[in-house]
Protein backbone atom coordinates (compact mmCIF):
# COMPACT_ATOMS: atom_id res chain seq x y z
CA UNK A 1 0.00 0.00 0.00
CA UNK A 2 2.85 2.28 0.82
CA UNK A 3 4.31 1.51 -2.58
CA UNK A 4 1.13 2.67 -4.27
CA UNK A 5 1.35 5.91 -2.31
CA UNK A 6 4.92 6.46 -3.40
CA UNK A 7 4.03 5.69 -7.01
CA UNK A 8 1.23 8.27 -6.85
CA UNK A 9 3.59 10.87 -5.44
CA UNK A 10 6.10 10.14 -8.19
CA UNK A 11 3.39 10.48 -10.80
CA UNK A 12 2.29 13.79 -9.35
CA UNK A 13 5.85 15.07 -9.36
CA UNK A 14 6.26 14.12 -12.97
CA UNK A 15 3.02 15.87 -13.84
CA UNK A 16 4.18 18.99 -12.06
CA UNK A 17 7.25 18.89 -14.29
CA UNK A 18 9.79 18.87 -11.44
CA UNK A 19 12.42 16.15 -11.46
CA UNK A 20 14.02 15.06 -8.20
CA UNK A 21 17.83 14.84 -8.14
CA UNK A 22 18.95 11.37 -9.18
CA UNK A 23 16.09 10.99 -11.64
CA UNK A 24 12.98 9.38 -10.20
CA UNK A 25 12.23 6.69 -12.77
CA UNK A 26 9.05 4.71 -13.17
CA UNK A 27 10.35 2.20 -10.61
CA UNK A 28 10.09 2.35 -6.87
CA UNK A 29 11.73 5.36 -5.30
CA UNK A 30 15.32 6.53 -5.81
CA UNK A 31 17.54 4.84 -8.36
CA UNK A 32 20.71 2.85 -7.97
CA UNK A 33 23.96 4.47 -6.90
CA UNK A 34 26.10 4.54 -10.04
CA UNK A 35 29.27 3.60 -8.13
CA UNK A 36 27.74 0.19 -7.37
CA UNK A 37 27.53 -0.72 -11.03
CA UNK A 38 31.19 -1.51 -11.21
CA UNK A 39 30.87 -4.21 -8.53
CA UNK A 40 27.48 -5.76 -9.12
CA UNK A 41 26.94 -8.94 -11.11
CA UNK A 42 24.22 -11.55 -11.14
CA UNK A 43 24.64 -13.69 -8.00
CA UNK A 44 23.68 -16.81 -9.95
CA UNK A 45 25.83 -16.57 -13.06
CA UNK A 46 28.30 -13.91 -11.89
CA UNK A 47 27.81 -12.23 -15.25
CA UNK A 48 27.33 -8.49 -15.84
CA UNK A 49 23.98 -6.82 -15.50
CA UNK A 50 22.32 -4.02 -17.37
CA UNK A 51 20.82 -1.23 -15.31
CA UNK A 52 17.38 -0.33 -16.61
CA UNK A 53 16.84 3.13 -15.18
CA UNK A 54 13.22 3.46 -16.25
CA UNK A 55 12.10 0.27 -14.56
CA UNK A 56 14.72 0.61 -11.80
CA UNK A 57 15.97 -2.93 -12.28
CA UNK A 58 19.20 -4.75 -12.90
CA UNK A 59 18.67 -7.06 -15.85
CA UNK A 60 20.53 -10.25 -16.67
CA UNK A 61 19.79 -10.63 -20.38
CA UNK A 62 21.19 -14.15 -20.66
CA UNK A 63 19.10 -15.69 -17.92
CA UNK A 64 16.19 -13.38 -18.54
CA UNK A 65 15.78 -12.20 -14.98
CA UNK A 66 15.72 -8.78 -13.38
CA UNK A 67 16.61 -7.73 -9.86
CA UNK A 68 14.58 -4.85 -8.40
CA UNK A 69 16.05 -1.75 -6.85
CA UNK A 70 13.97 -0.68 -3.89
CA UNK A 71 14.68 2.59 -2.09
CA UNK A 72 18.03 2.73 -3.81
CA UNK A 73 19.01 -0.69 -2.48
CA UNK A 74 19.39 -3.41 -5.13
CA UNK A 75 17.79 -6.68 -4.09
CA UNK A 76 20.25 -9.29 -5.31
CA UNK A 77 18.61 -12.32 -3.77
CA UNK A 78 17.84 -14.80 -6.58
CA UNK A 79 14.38 -15.61 -5.18
CA UNK A 80 13.45 -11.95 -5.52
CA UNK A 81 14.38 -11.76 -9.19
CA UNK A 82 11.60 -11.27 -11.66
CA UNK A 83 11.39 -13.22 -14.90
CA UNK A 84 11.59 -10.78 -17.77
CA UNK A 85 9.35 -10.88 -20.85
CA UNK A 86 12.07 -12.43 -22.98
CA UNK A 87 12.39 -15.46 -20.77
CA UNK A 88 8.64 -15.90 -20.62
CA UNK A 89 8.55 -15.90 -24.41
CA UNK A 90 11.43 -18.34 -24.69
CA UNK A 91 9.64 -20.71 -22.34
CA UNK A 92 6.48 -20.47 -24.45
CA UNK A 93 8.42 -21.20 -27.63
CA UNK A 94 10.12 -24.36 -26.41
CA UNK A 95 6.97 -25.77 -24.81
CA UNK A 96 4.55 -24.68 -27.58
CA UNK A 97 2.42 -27.13 -29.65
CA UNK A 98 4.51 -26.55 -32.77
CA UNK A 99 7.47 -28.05 -30.97
CA UNK A 100 10.94 -26.52 -30.59
CA UNK A 101 11.48 -23.54 -32.87
CA UNK A 102 15.27 -23.75 -33.04
Amino acid sequence: MLRAGRGAVAALRRAAGSRGAGGQGGGQGPGLEPSLLRFLVCPLSKRPLRYDEAANELVNEELGIAYPVIDGIPNMIPEAARRTQKQAEAVKETSGPAGPQQ
Binding site: Y67, G72, I73
Partner: protein, 312 residues
Amino acid sequence: MAAAGLGPARPLLARRPGALRALLGLARGLAAGPQTHFGFQNVSEEERREKIYQVFENVAEKYDVMNDSMTLGIHRVWKDILVHKMNPSPGTLLVDVAGGTGDIAFRFINYVRSVRERQLQQKLKRHQNLSWQEISKSYEKEKVKPLGDSQVVVCDINKEMLKVGKQRAQHLGYSEGLSWVLGNAEELPFDDDKFDVYTIAFGIRNVTRIDLALQEAYRVLKPGGRFLCLEFSHVSNPLLSRLYDLYSFQVIPVLGEIIAGDWKSYQYLVESIRRFPPQEELKEMIEDAGFFKVDYQNLSSGIVAIHSGFKL
Protein backbone atom coordinates in the same frame (compact mmCIF):
# COMPACT_ATOMS: atom_id res chain seq x y z
CA MET B 1 6.57 -15.89 3.82
CA ALA B 2 3.92 -18.54 3.46
CA ALA B 3 6.39 -21.13 4.69
CA ALA B 4 5.89 -20.18 8.31
CA GLY B 5 2.36 -21.52 8.43
CA LEU B 6 3.20 -24.96 7.07
CA GLY B 7 5.17 -26.12 10.08
CA PRO B 8 4.61 -29.84 10.69
CA ALA B 9 3.45 -30.52 7.15
CA ARG B 10 6.77 -29.55 5.67
CA PRO B 11 8.74 -32.76 6.24
CA LEU B 12 5.98 -34.64 4.41
CA LEU B 13 5.89 -32.19 1.55
CA ALA B 14 9.65 -32.27 1.40
CA ARG B 15 9.54 -35.86 0.24
CA ARG B 16 7.66 -34.68 -2.84
CA PRO B 17 10.01 -31.99 -4.09
CA GLY B 18 7.77 -31.03 -6.99
CA ALA B 19 4.85 -30.26 -4.72
CA LEU B 20 6.94 -28.30 -2.28
CA ARG B 21 8.49 -26.27 -5.05
CA ALA B 22 5.19 -25.50 -6.61
CA LEU B 23 3.72 -24.49 -3.28
CA LEU B 24 6.51 -22.37 -1.93
CA GLY B 25 8.32 -21.32 -5.06
CA LEU B 26 11.42 -21.08 -2.94
CA ALA B 27 13.31 -24.05 -4.24
CA ARG B 28 16.89 -23.80 -5.24
CA GLY B 29 17.35 -27.54 -5.18
CA LEU B 30 17.42 -27.70 -1.41
CA ALA B 31 13.77 -28.61 -0.74
CA ALA B 32 14.29 -30.27 2.63
CA GLY B 33 18.04 -30.46 2.35
CA PRO B 34 20.56 -31.77 4.83
CA GLN B 35 19.99 -31.28 8.53
CA THR B 36 21.62 -28.41 10.34
CA HIS B 37 21.09 -26.56 13.57
CA PHE B 38 19.19 -23.52 14.78
CA GLY B 39 20.61 -22.85 18.18
CA PHE B 40 20.16 -26.17 19.94
CA GLN B 41 17.38 -27.41 17.65
CA ASN B 42 17.91 -29.59 14.60
CA VAL B 43 16.30 -28.22 11.48
CA SER B 44 16.67 -28.34 7.71
CA GLU B 45 18.89 -25.79 5.97
CA GLU B 46 15.92 -24.02 4.48
CA GLU B 47 14.18 -23.75 7.84
CA ARG B 48 17.33 -22.44 9.44
CA ARG B 49 17.64 -19.68 6.87
CA GLU B 50 14.06 -18.63 7.41
CA LYS B 51 14.25 -18.74 11.19
CA ILE B 52 17.40 -16.64 11.22
CA TYR B 53 15.83 -14.18 8.81
CA GLN B 54 12.92 -13.82 11.19
CA VAL B 55 15.20 -13.35 14.19
CA PHE B 56 16.87 -10.38 12.59
CA GLU B 57 13.66 -9.03 11.19
CA ASN B 58 12.33 -8.96 14.74
CA VAL B 59 15.36 -7.46 16.41
CA ALA B 60 16.43 -4.98 13.70
CA GLU B 61 14.93 -1.92 15.32
CA LYS B 62 16.39 -2.68 18.72
CA TYR B 63 19.60 -4.26 17.44
CA ASP B 64 21.97 -1.52 18.50
CA VAL B 65 20.39 -0.98 21.90
CA MET B 66 20.55 -4.71 22.57
CA ASN B 67 24.20 -4.89 21.56
CA ASP B 68 25.01 -2.18 24.06
CA SER B 69 23.01 -3.77 26.86
CA MET B 70 24.21 -7.31 26.32
CA THR B 71 27.88 -6.47 26.04
CA LEU B 72 27.78 -3.44 28.33
CA GLY B 73 29.00 -1.37 25.41
CA ILE B 74 32.10 -3.50 24.92
CA HIS B 75 31.04 -4.51 21.39
CA ARG B 76 32.03 -0.98 20.37
CA VAL B 77 35.60 -1.62 21.52
CA TRP B 78 35.72 -4.94 19.67
CA LYS B 79 34.60 -3.26 16.46
CA ASP B 80 37.09 -0.42 16.96
CA ILE B 81 39.86 -2.99 17.33
CA LEU B 82 38.74 -4.72 14.12
CA VAL B 83 38.99 -1.52 12.09
CA HIS B 84 42.30 -0.58 13.68
CA LYS B 85 43.64 -4.00 12.80
CA MET B 86 42.44 -3.43 9.25
CA ASN B 87 44.29 -0.10 9.21
CA PRO B 88 42.72 0.98 5.91
CA SER B 89 44.43 3.60 3.82
CA PRO B 90 42.49 6.09 1.66
CA GLY B 91 41.43 4.39 -1.57
CA THR B 92 40.59 1.09 0.08
CA LEU B 93 37.55 -0.79 -1.21
CA LEU B 94 35.76 -2.61 1.56
CA VAL B 95 32.88 -5.04 1.38
CA ASP B 96 31.20 -5.49 4.75
CA VAL B 97 29.06 -8.61 4.64
CA ALA B 98 26.21 -9.17 7.07
CA GLY B 99 26.96 -5.56 7.91
CA GLY B 100 23.32 -4.75 8.54
CA THR B 101 23.18 -1.67 10.66
CA GLY B 102 26.49 -0.25 9.49
CA ASP B 103 28.72 -0.35 12.56
CA ILE B 104 31.84 -1.46 10.69
CA ALA B 105 31.11 0.68 7.65
CA PHE B 106 30.82 3.88 9.69
CA ARG B 107 34.02 3.11 11.59
CA PHE B 108 35.81 2.46 8.31
CA ILE B 109 34.69 5.81 6.94
CA ASN B 110 35.77 7.65 10.09
CA TYR B 111 39.15 5.94 9.99
CA VAL B 112 40.01 6.71 6.35
CA ARG B 113 38.70 10.22 6.76
CA SER B 114 41.10 10.92 9.62
CA VAL B 115 43.98 9.21 7.83
CA ARG B 116 43.30 11.37 4.81
CA GLU B 117 43.17 14.55 6.90
CA ARG B 118 46.48 13.68 8.46
CA GLN B 119 47.96 12.98 5.00
CA LEU B 120 46.93 16.38 3.73
CA GLN B 121 48.21 18.11 6.86
CA GLN B 122 51.58 16.38 6.47
CA LYS B 123 51.74 17.50 2.87
CA LEU B 124 51.06 21.08 3.84
CA LYS B 125 53.68 21.03 6.58
CA ARG B 126 56.30 19.92 4.10
CA HIS B 127 55.58 22.80 1.77
CA GLN B 128 55.99 25.70 4.13
CA ASN B 129 56.61 28.26 1.44
CA LEU B 130 53.35 27.79 -0.42
CA SER B 131 51.33 30.81 -1.42
CA TRP B 132 47.89 31.31 0.09
CA GLN B 133 46.39 30.32 -3.23
CA GLU B 134 48.14 26.98 -3.23
CA ILE B 135 47.20 26.30 0.36
CA SER B 136 43.53 26.99 -0.26
CA LYS B 137 43.65 24.76 -3.32
CA SER B 138 44.78 21.81 -1.25
CA TYR B 139 41.97 22.46 1.24
CA GLU B 140 39.62 22.35 -1.74
CA LYS B 141 41.06 18.98 -2.68
CA GLU B 142 40.29 17.67 0.77
CA LYS B 143 36.71 18.85 0.51
CA VAL B 144 36.22 17.21 -2.86
CA LYS B 145 37.74 13.90 -1.83
CA PRO B 146 37.45 13.62 1.92
CA LEU B 147 37.71 9.86 1.75
CA GLY B 148 40.24 9.74 -1.05
CA ASP B 149 38.22 7.31 -3.21
CA SER B 150 37.67 4.85 -0.36
CA GLN B 151 34.44 2.95 -0.66
CA VAL B 152 32.46 0.56 1.49
CA VAL B 153 29.65 -1.65 0.25
CA VAL B 154 27.43 -3.01 2.99
CA CYS B 155 25.84 -6.31 2.03
CA ASP B 156 23.19 -8.00 4.15
CA ILE B 157 20.52 -10.61 3.51
CA ASN B 158 17.97 -8.91 5.73
CA LYS B 159 15.91 -5.99 4.45
CA GLU B 160 15.03 -4.70 7.91
CA MET B 161 18.63 -4.56 9.05
CA LEU B 162 19.65 -2.66 5.91
CA LYS B 163 16.77 -0.27 6.40
CA VAL B 164 17.92 0.51 9.93
CA GLY B 165 21.47 0.87 8.65
CA LYS B 166 20.48 3.33 5.97
CA GLN B 167 18.47 5.39 8.43
CA ARG B 168 21.39 5.51 10.85
CA ALA B 169 23.66 6.61 8.03
CA GLN B 170 21.35 9.44 7.13
CA HIS B 171 20.99 10.40 10.77
CA LEU B 172 24.74 10.42 11.40
CA GLY B 173 25.55 12.14 8.12
CA TYR B 174 27.28 9.33 6.24
CA SER B 175 26.70 9.36 2.50
CA GLU B 176 29.96 9.62 0.58
CA GLY B 177 31.61 6.32 -0.33
CA LEU B 178 28.86 4.21 1.21
CA SER B 179 26.40 1.91 -0.53
CA TRP B 180 23.95 -0.80 0.46
CA VAL B 181 23.15 -4.09 -1.23
CA LEU B 182 20.65 -6.79 -0.33
CA GLY B 183 22.54 -10.02 -0.91
CA ASN B 184 23.39 -13.46 0.39
CA ALA B 185 26.86 -14.12 1.83
CA GLU B 186 26.73 -17.62 0.30
CA GLU B 187 26.04 -16.17 -3.14
CA LEU B 188 27.51 -12.68 -3.38
CA PRO B 189 26.35 -10.45 -6.24
CA PHE B 190 29.85 -9.10 -6.78
CA ASP B 191 32.39 -9.72 -9.50
CA ASP B 192 35.69 -11.55 -8.88
CA ASP B 193 38.79 -9.82 -7.57
CA LYS B 194 37.05 -6.57 -6.67
CA PHE B 195 37.68 -5.69 -3.04
CA ASP B 196 40.72 -4.93 -0.92
CA VAL B 197 39.12 -6.02 2.32
CA TYR B 198 36.21 -8.29 3.22
CA THR B 199 34.78 -8.05 6.71
CA ILE B 200 32.07 -10.01 8.43
CA ALA B 201 31.38 -8.93 11.98
CA PHE B 202 29.06 -11.05 14.12
CA GLY B 203 27.48 -12.35 10.93
CA ILE B 204 29.24 -15.55 9.91
CA ARG B 205 27.64 -17.37 12.81
CA ASN B 206 24.28 -16.85 11.16
CA VAL B 207 25.32 -18.14 7.75
CA THR B 208 24.04 -21.63 7.06
CA ARG B 209 26.85 -22.75 4.76
CA ILE B 210 29.94 -21.13 6.18
CA ASP B 211 32.15 -22.91 3.65
CA LEU B 212 30.26 -21.24 0.78
CA ALA B 213 30.51 -17.84 2.42
CA LEU B 214 34.27 -18.28 2.83
CA GLN B 215 34.61 -19.33 -0.80
CA GLU B 216 32.67 -16.28 -1.90
CA ALA B 217 34.82 -14.09 0.31
CA TYR B 218 37.89 -15.49 -1.42
CA ARG B 219 36.39 -14.96 -4.84
CA VAL B 220 35.48 -11.29 -4.47
CA LEU B 221 38.76 -10.26 -2.88
CA LYS B 222 41.59 -8.92 -5.01
CA PRO B 223 44.86 -10.83 -4.92
CA GLY B 224 46.57 -9.43 -1.83
CA GLY B 225 43.19 -8.74 -0.30
CA ARG B 226 42.42 -9.40 3.35
CA PHE B 227 39.66 -11.39 5.00
CA LEU B 228 38.66 -10.28 8.49
CA CYS B 229 36.09 -12.00 10.64
CA LEU B 230 34.94 -10.77 14.05
CA GLU B 231 32.87 -13.33 15.86
CA PHE B 232 31.95 -14.80 19.20
CA SER B 233 34.27 -17.66 20.01
CA HIS B 234 35.21 -20.06 22.77
CA VAL B 235 36.51 -19.21 26.22
CA SER B 236 39.07 -21.72 27.43
CA ASN B 237 39.43 -20.50 31.01
CA PRO B 238 37.02 -22.72 32.99
CA LEU B 239 36.02 -20.17 35.64
CA LEU B 240 35.41 -17.44 33.11
CA SER B 241 33.59 -19.93 30.95
CA ARG B 242 31.17 -20.72 33.78
CA LEU B 243 30.50 -17.05 34.44
CA TYR B 244 30.05 -16.40 30.74
CA ASP B 245 27.56 -19.28 30.47
CA LEU B 246 25.62 -18.03 33.45
CA TYR B 247 25.45 -14.55 32.02
CA SER B 248 24.53 -15.80 28.55
CA PHE B 249 21.76 -18.15 29.54
CA GLN B 250 20.32 -16.34 32.52
CA VAL B 251 20.72 -12.66 31.72
CA ILE B 252 20.71 -12.18 27.96
CA PRO B 253 17.33 -13.71 27.08
CA VAL B 254 15.78 -11.73 29.92
CA LEU B 255 17.31 -8.54 28.56
CA GLY B 256 15.97 -9.56 25.19
CA GLU B 257 12.49 -9.84 26.60
CA ILE B 258 12.64 -6.57 28.50
CA ILE B 259 14.26 -4.43 25.82
CA ALA B 260 13.14 -6.01 22.57
CA GLY B 261 10.13 -7.98 23.77
CA ASP B 262 11.69 -11.05 22.24
CA TRP B 263 13.05 -13.78 24.48
CA LYS B 264 13.27 -16.42 21.77
CA SER B 265 15.47 -14.46 19.40
CA TYR B 266 18.00 -13.85 22.11
CA GLN B 267 17.81 -17.44 23.24
CA TYR B 268 18.74 -18.32 19.65
CA LEU B 269 21.60 -15.85 19.77
CA VAL B 270 23.10 -17.38 22.87
CA GLU B 271 22.69 -20.93 21.56
CA SER B 272 24.16 -20.06 18.17
CA ILE B 273 27.27 -18.77 19.89
CA ARG B 274 27.71 -22.12 21.65
CA ARG B 275 27.23 -24.00 18.37
CA PHE B 276 29.77 -21.99 16.44
CA PRO B 277 33.16 -23.61 15.78
CA PRO B 278 35.99 -22.60 18.11
CA GLN B 279 39.03 -20.62 17.06
CA GLU B 280 41.20 -23.41 15.64
CA GLU B 281 38.36 -25.02 13.73
CA LEU B 282 37.34 -21.74 12.12
CA LYS B 283 40.97 -21.13 11.24
CA GLU B 284 41.04 -24.44 9.35
CA MET B 285 37.83 -23.64 7.52
CA ILE B 286 39.29 -20.33 6.40
CA GLU B 287 42.43 -22.09 5.20
CA ASP B 288 40.28 -24.59 3.31
CA ALA B 289 38.78 -21.72 1.36
CA GLY B 290 42.24 -20.87 0.07
CA PHE B 291 43.38 -18.13 2.40
CA PHE B 292 46.98 -17.87 3.53
CA LYS B 293 48.62 -16.56 6.70
CA VAL B 294 45.45 -17.29 8.62
CA ASP B 295 45.56 -16.46 12.27
CA TYR B 296 43.31 -15.24 15.04
CA GLN B 297 43.41 -12.81 17.91
CA ASN B 298 41.36 -13.43 21.04
CA LEU B 299 39.57 -10.50 22.57
CA SER B 300 38.12 -10.50 26.06
CA SER B 301 39.70 -13.86 26.86
CA GLY B 302 38.16 -15.56 23.83
CA ILE B 303 34.60 -14.34 24.19
CA VAL B 304 35.29 -12.81 20.81
CA ALA B 305 37.98 -13.52 18.22
CA ILE B 306 39.22 -11.79 15.08
CA HIS B 307 40.29 -14.17 12.33
CA SER B 308 42.41 -12.83 9.50
CA GLY B 309 43.54 -14.32 6.20
CA PHE B 310 45.00 -13.20 2.90
CA LYS B 311 44.29 -14.05 -0.69
CA LEU B 312 47.58 -14.34 -2.49
